[in-house]
């Protein structure tokens, strides 16, 4: 929401002219940026205090923020299981990207087909509904049985995890299109193909791209779970290794890297969303 305009009714938007505010105690305390700073400082000092005073009873439960930074900095030059942290990031990223792209290539067209053709829908929907109920993480055991311990089972789980939201949203998106748009195409003399080309596909883009964002975050959850269960590389391996050698600094550092990478990915998905459906740019919170 734009901060320098205020909605005073449903139609009229007036700019609010803000003069210079006098510097008061309440004004400083009420400022959100100041509060953000206070909150972060409080959070990190509480963390440091909890780690330094061994609040969980033993030293291997929590590391101070400084230890984490130090450990993380060390990982950029030294190696863990033969890879630096960049190598582990790349290992996880490669799996996510392969599984995600495969799932999107299979899921989105299939979802659109199901929405556009009732016969295909009648055949595939019931089987899809059966598979949809099983959480992707429940497939890990089967995936390991089927594909061994290399990259294949991880890609398979990521595929399943992102296939379901990709297909679901593509399928539902077509239903949400306003029927008037089809009427317009028909009045202009368009045939069924024109309807699909001009209305169905562009009209379903917002929901599809929302589905892709869900699919991407699901893919990250899946790759982490798969790597926690069995792996020799990747970010999930980093944190499970930290757990095995009782090194909380490594675990928390790994979590930070995971958060940063996941954040970058969701940010780039939002960027993609803006590219795919530029008309939706200003709708907030959907």
């Amino acid at each position: 929401m734009n901060t320098n305009t205020t909605d005073i009714s449903n139609e009229v938007i007036l700019p609010v002219v803000k003069g210079k505010q006098p510097l008061t105690y309440r004004g400083v305390i009420g400022n959100e940026y100041v509060l953000n700073g206070i909150s972060l400082i409080l959070f990190f000092s509480l963390w440091h205090w909890a780690a330094a005073s061994h609040i969980f009873g033993h030293s291997s439960a929590l590391a101070t923020p400084f230890e984490v930074i130090e450990r993380l900095g060390g990982l950029f030059s030294s190696t863990l299981a033969g890879l630096t942290i960049w190598g582990h990031i790349w290992a996880s990223m490669k799996r996510v990207l392969i599984g995600f792209v495969l799932a999107v290539l299979a899921g989105v067209p299939l979802g659109l087909l199901m929405a556009l053709n009732p016969l295909i829908n009648a055949v595939i929907k019931p089987i899809f509904d059966i598979f949809k109920t099983m959480p992707p993480l429940a497939w890990i055991s089967v995936a390991i049985l089927w594909f061994g311990v290399q990259d294949a089972p991880k890609i398979f789980i990521i595929f399943i995890g992102s296939f379901v939201p990709a297909l679901m949203n593509a399928y539902k998106s077509v239903v949400l299109i306003e029927p008037e748009l089809y009427d317009v195409v028909r009045i202009m003399g368009g045939n069924r193909w024109d309807e699909i080309r001009l209305v169905s596909i562009p009209g379903s883009m917002p929901a599809i791209s929302a589905g892709l964002q869900i699919a991407m975050s699901s893919a990250w959850t899946c790759v982490l779970a798969a790597e926690l269960v069995s792996s020799r590389s990747g970010l999930g391996y980093v944190i499970i290794q930290g757990m095995k050698i009782s090194d909380p600094a490594l675990v928390i550092g790994g979590m930070m890297v995971i958060a940063a990478v996941a954040y970058t990915f969701s940010w780039s998905m939002e960027w993609l969303d803006h590219k795919l459906c530029p008309w939706r740019r200003d709708i907030e919170g959907l």
């Binding site: 099983m134 429940a138 089927w146 982490l224 499970i240 757990m243 907030e284």
Partner: protein
């Protein structure tokens, strides 16, 4: 009446096809899996199990605790307990926090940066740290489920408050309502549909995360059943576990749907 309700009949083929499709799928599954110890063109029993065998095992597991130490119902009960405890705690903390964050800028300023720091971390990534803190008992799993459930609660409650109509807020300001009065009488009710959306999303998240938490560290529960099946090389147990998780999840989802449509009969947007 301007509109007339027209009943359209589904074509017969659209009614039959779904049933045929499921039957063909089950039949193909049944045929393409070899029985135990037989090796031919079919998929060996170490990789997949016939649906009929899974059904037989399911009936057997109702009373037989071997080979993984508990009956199916005990596993289900343990899983449900963990999921619902985490879910309820997530609702209790997440919804008020999200609502307050939406309206009071002080709370938003204090809580937002920490929330934004924690949000991008997938709940699964908390597992190692949780094991350090709580061990592999109930507490750790509830904590992970709590983390996965709280994120959609906060986001939805927050968005719900932010989406309340500014005209209403300004009108009540004009009539002299206090901040707290506006919050309770305008913001909270207008956030309700989003809050109910959060109930459903959070439950789905909790159920998914539960399996992940149990895959790693557990001694009972459906996720544990799946892991044990793999460790024992019993594909039928793995498949049974997967199906149980799916069926239980679907049933919970259906109940929530029912409750939601009853409660929200009037205000669903």
């Amino acid at each position: 009446m301007a509109y007339e309700v027209v009943k359209t009949r589904k074509p017969l083929i659209l009614i039959i096809l779904p049933i045929v499709s499921v039957l063909v799928f089950l039949l193909a599954w049944e045929i393409s899996v070899a029985p135990r110890g037989v090796e031919d063109w079919r998929i060996p029993s170490t990789l997949l199990t016939k649906p009929s065998d899974v059904l037989r095992l399911a009936i057997d597991k109702m009373s037989n605790p071997n080979p993984d130490g508990a009956t199916l119902m005990v596993h289900l009960w343990v899983s449900m307990q963990e999921a619902f405890l985490g879910y309820l705690l997530a609702l209790l903390v997440g919804l008020p926090l999200g609502l307050l964050m939406g309206w009071f800028s002080t709370i938003r300023g204090l809580a937002r940066p920490i929330f934004e720091l924690i949000r991008p971390i997938p709940p699964i990534a908390w597992i190692p740290l949780t094991i350090f803190w709580f061990g592999i008992g109930l507490g750790g799993k509830v904590f992970i489920i709590w983390i996965s459930g709280i994120v959609p609660c906060v986001i939805n409650a927050y968005t719900g408050v932010r989406m309340s109509n500014p005209v209403l807020i300004q009108m009540s300001r004009t009539y002299g309502a206090s901040d707290w009065q506006i919050f309770t009488t305008i913001c909270v009710p207008s956030a309700l549909p989003m809050v109910f959306g959060a109930l459903q999303i959070a439950l789905a998240y909790c159920w998914v995360t539960l399996v992940g938490a149990e895959l790693l560290a557990s001694n009972q529960g459906l996720g544990y059943l799946i892991t044990m099946g793999r460790n024992l090389g019993r594909t039928d147990i793995v498949i049974l576990g997967m199906i149980s998780v799916g069926v239980a999840g679907a049933m919970i989802g259906m109940i929530i749907d029912r409750v939601e449509s009853k409660l929200l009969a009037g205000i669903r947007r």
